[in-house]
């Protein structure tokens, strides 16, 4: 999660440039140009979202592997038997299950698990070219990803 501040700064610079292009197109009442700039904005937002999502996903994987290593090191079989099903060198669990290893699925108050799964769904929607969103407020999402990362427990 170390590059998120730099990502926000670069995102803001290019997003502001695209906003200015949109204002110019609107002043010229150029419908075709407005459509092109809006399309660029959606691509820009999506690209940065995928970039920041990748940082959270890597952190979830890292903490999940650490959780498995810690629990498998117990000498009490009662403590480690469920964890023995995971290989920290080769985690095959699907993403939702890896996230559930490090976030409390039932913690309604924080809702971090559900928010993570929603962002994962958004990431998949973008990857498959299927999102209905007009845009993504990347700095706001970055703030939320930081909060989620702060709740990961090995």
């Amino acid at each position: 999660m170390k590059d998120l501040a730099a990502i926000t700064a670069v995102y803001s610079e290019f997003a502001t440039s695209l906003d200015a292009q949109l204002v110019q197109a609107e002043r010229a009442a150029d419908i075709a140009r407005i459509g092109r700039v809006e399309h660029k904005q959606r691509i820009h937002d999506s690209a940065y979202f995928i970039l920041i999502w990748g940082q959270l996903e890597a952190e979830i994987n890292r903490v999940a592997e650490l959780a498995v290593r810690n629990r498998r090191s117990s000498i009490r079989w009662e403590d480690r038997r469920a964890w023995d099903a995971h290989d920290p060198e080769n985690m095959r669990a699907k993403f939702e299950d890896r996230a559930a290893l490090v976030l409390d699925r039932l913690n309604v108050a924080s809702d971090a698990y559900r928010r993570t799964i929603r962002y994962y769904g958004l990431r998949n929607g973008i990857a498959h070219g299927a999102t209905l969103a007009t845009g993504i407020d990347v700095p706001t999402i970055i703030g939320d990803l930081y909060r989620i990362a702060g709740e990961l427990k090995a």
Binding site: T16, V23, L122, L132, T134, G135, D137, T140
Partner: protein
């Protein structure tokens, strides 16, 4: 408090044309209330709502909801324009609608951070420093336009 990402993934919301129309009515009301409040904050400024911008977002097209026009607010002082507010989008992941402000001191984003159909929580941030978010108030808006 439902958010746009939940709405677009139909997590707790039935996404259909009727729902979208209700959201558009709510968005228009929030914009009207915002413009009214800004005019009240700066009674010495001219506040012209004559121009409009088109709202035609991807989810509207997906559900066959026709485009509509939303008001633009032009603020002027002694016939010199000091700010233009343009509604930019409603279905933006992470927020509940955004209005862009072009002002003397640069570009600003005025963002509603409330949930769907909730009391608005407007904030303002410079476009080039989007993490420097402050609650929208007479003072913070004056910093942008004066």
């Amino acid at each position: 408090m439902l958010s746009v990402i939940e709405e677009l993934t139909e997590d707790g919301v039935v996404l259909d044309a009727e729902h979208l129309r209700a959201r558009i009515v709510d968005w228009r009301m929030r914009i009207d209330d915002l413009y009214r409040e800004i005019a009240d904050w700066f009674p010495h400024l001219g506040a012209d709502r004559g121009d409009t911008t088109v709202m035609d977002e991807p989810v509207m097209r997906a559900y066959g909801v026709p485009p509509i026009r939303l008001p633009v607010l032009r603020l002027s002082e002694a016939d010199v324009e000091v700010g233009i507010l343009v509604p930019r989008g409603l279905w933006i992941i992470g927020v509940n609608g955004r209005v862009d402000l072009s002002a003397r001191n640069g570009q600003f984003l005025i963002i509603d951070r409330s949930g769907l159909f909730a009391q608005p929580r407007w904030t303002i941030a410079p476009a080039l420093d989007r993490l420097a978010v402050e609650p929208l108030s007479r003072t913070t808006l004056a910093g942008a336009i004066q």
